[in-house]
């Protein structure tokens, strides 16, 4: 299988910046995978995300989406359709004042036939569990609901990749759960590739693969269990570890032998019970 996203030696410097925001990034993302991207503010996560649908173009290196080079202007619309992007502030990505009209925005831009738009809008809203709200005014929805409308808005393009740039940063716990579960479901059930940029370790735990960025580079890359086992390295990068990892670390420091890979509270409790014998 070919990677759906291929980033080769990508370097990007913002105008007037004294150091590159991205510094020789190499990355392959396989279709259908759920990738979490971690890193402190300014580590280059958002800059990388914006390269994946040709909002930013590489200064050096290459970004290929399903084999299409983002630098080639003819590929612009096909790439944007393939890679849907959702940002942090849900208020600032909703265009229309009725939910379903907002979701229709992208297919309308693409000149899709009205009947087909209707079908896509209904389907997209159902996929994020917002169909019952299709006639509501967006400003009356909760943060989690707004963010799911924003996801539906890009789903209506029929994307293969969903890039979520800190979609939960402004949400309360319920909203965060709603959004992450929706993204996870789209990945597991619809086979959509998901790239989730987040500061919340408990969200990253649910991914297949975790990338850690620092100063424009990918410095760690692996399965969650593997990455979070390297707690000291993460702390050195100004990141925290999930509470489960912190607990197991403390227990093991006191001489217990709990396997470090237990990341969810359930797995952690089971592993501790096991270790207690």
């Amino acid at each position: 299988m070919d990677p759906i996203i291929r980033v080769k030696n990508l370097t990007y410097v913002y105008p007037d910046a004294d150091r590159p925001a991205l510094d020789g990034v190499d990355l392959d993302v396989m279709p259908g995978s759920f990738v979490a991207v971690l890193g402190s503010n300014g580590s280059g996560k958002s800059t990388l995300a914006k390269h994946l649908n040709a909002i930013l173009l590489p200064r050096e290196g290459k970004v290929l989406v399903d084999g299409m080079d983002t630098i080639d202007e003819g590929n612009l619309l096909p790439i944007r359709r393939k890679v849907g992007m959702v940002f942090q502030n849900p208020d600032n990505q909703i265009v229309a004042n009725v939910v379903e009209d907002d979701v229709a925005f992208a297919p309308e831009n693409l000149g899709v036939d009205p009947k087909e738009i209707r079908r896509r809008v209904d389907e997209a809203l159902k996929q994020v569990d917002m169909y019952d709200f299709r006639l509501h005014a967006p400003h009356l929805l909760s943060g989690g609901q707004k963010q799911r409308v924003a996801i539906a808005g890009v789903l209506a393009m029929g994307p293969e990749v969903l890039v979520l740039d800190e979609p939960t940063a402004m949400l309360d716990p319920r909203g965060r759960r709603e959004v992450v579960s929706a993204a996870e479901r789209l990945c597991r059930e619809k086979g959509i590739t998901v790239l989730l940029i987040t500061h919340h370790m408990d969200e990253a735990v649910r991914a297949d693969r975790v990338l850690v960025m620092d100063r424009g580079r990918i410095v760690m890359d692996g399965a969650p269990a593997e990455i979070f086992a390297r707690a000291d390295e993460l702390r050195a990068l100004q990141l925290t570890v999930p509470d489960t990892t912190a607990l197991i670390e403390k227990l093991n420091a006191a001489g217990m032998a709990v396997p470090a890979g237990a990341l969810t509270p359930e797995a952690c409790a089971a592993a501790i019970k096991e270790a207690l014998g």
């Binding site: 909002i55 600032n92 229309a96 831009n109």
Partner: protein
Amino acid sequence: MLKDITLGQYFPGDTVVHRLDPRTKLILTVVYIAALFLVNTWGGYALVIAALAAVTAVAHIKPRAMLRGLKPLVFIIVFTGLLNLFFTRGDDVLFQWRFIHITYTGLNRAVSMVLRVMLLVSGTFLLTYTTSPLAITDGLERLLSPLNKLHVPVYELSLMMCIALRFIPTLIEETDRIMSAQKARGADLETGTLPERAKALLPLLIPLFISAFRRADELALAMECRCYNGGQGRTRMKELRMAGRDAVAFILGGLLVAGILVLRRLGI
């Protein structure tokens, strides 16, 4: 708080009036306004009032809501009335006391002016009460689409209007938030001389502007991500279609105008 203001005059509903094509309603509203200026008889006013009352009833709009809509205009209405009442010259003096003299012509004119303003406002309210802002924008866009040939960016203008409507509640909330934040730092927006108060608004206006620009920036990015590329080649999910009820509405509108003209001729 600003949030307390009930926003938007649209009363969602599913009556025939609500379901009319917005273009029909827009055109008929313009016709209605024009016709209003042709009315010069009491019979004509009675006919218009009857027609308006009928549409209001069919649209399930409460008369109280119509009156509430007139409330902010009470001053203008009263002022127009008084102006006509006191400053119309004529021989048919009804009442005179010192420098005040009221004529029959003046009374006549005052009442008809007040009626006209009220009917004009109520008529347009009927449009906004029964048509969502989005539908109005949509209707306008399509009515004005011939202007596209003259290189007027009709689609872009209507999109701008949509977005403005969409962001009104968001920005009101934001204003509320910033106002609270500055008041929490001891800002005093209520007392002082006029220049002082204008200056006291800066801590509110500057952050509001910055935030509006930031939002515009992010929205533009989000729109780009959703393949926005201008109006060309765009399709619409909801196509406007005229139906039988629209034809009926036009016929009724025509009858109203004809009625007004006949009454004008007859002088009733």
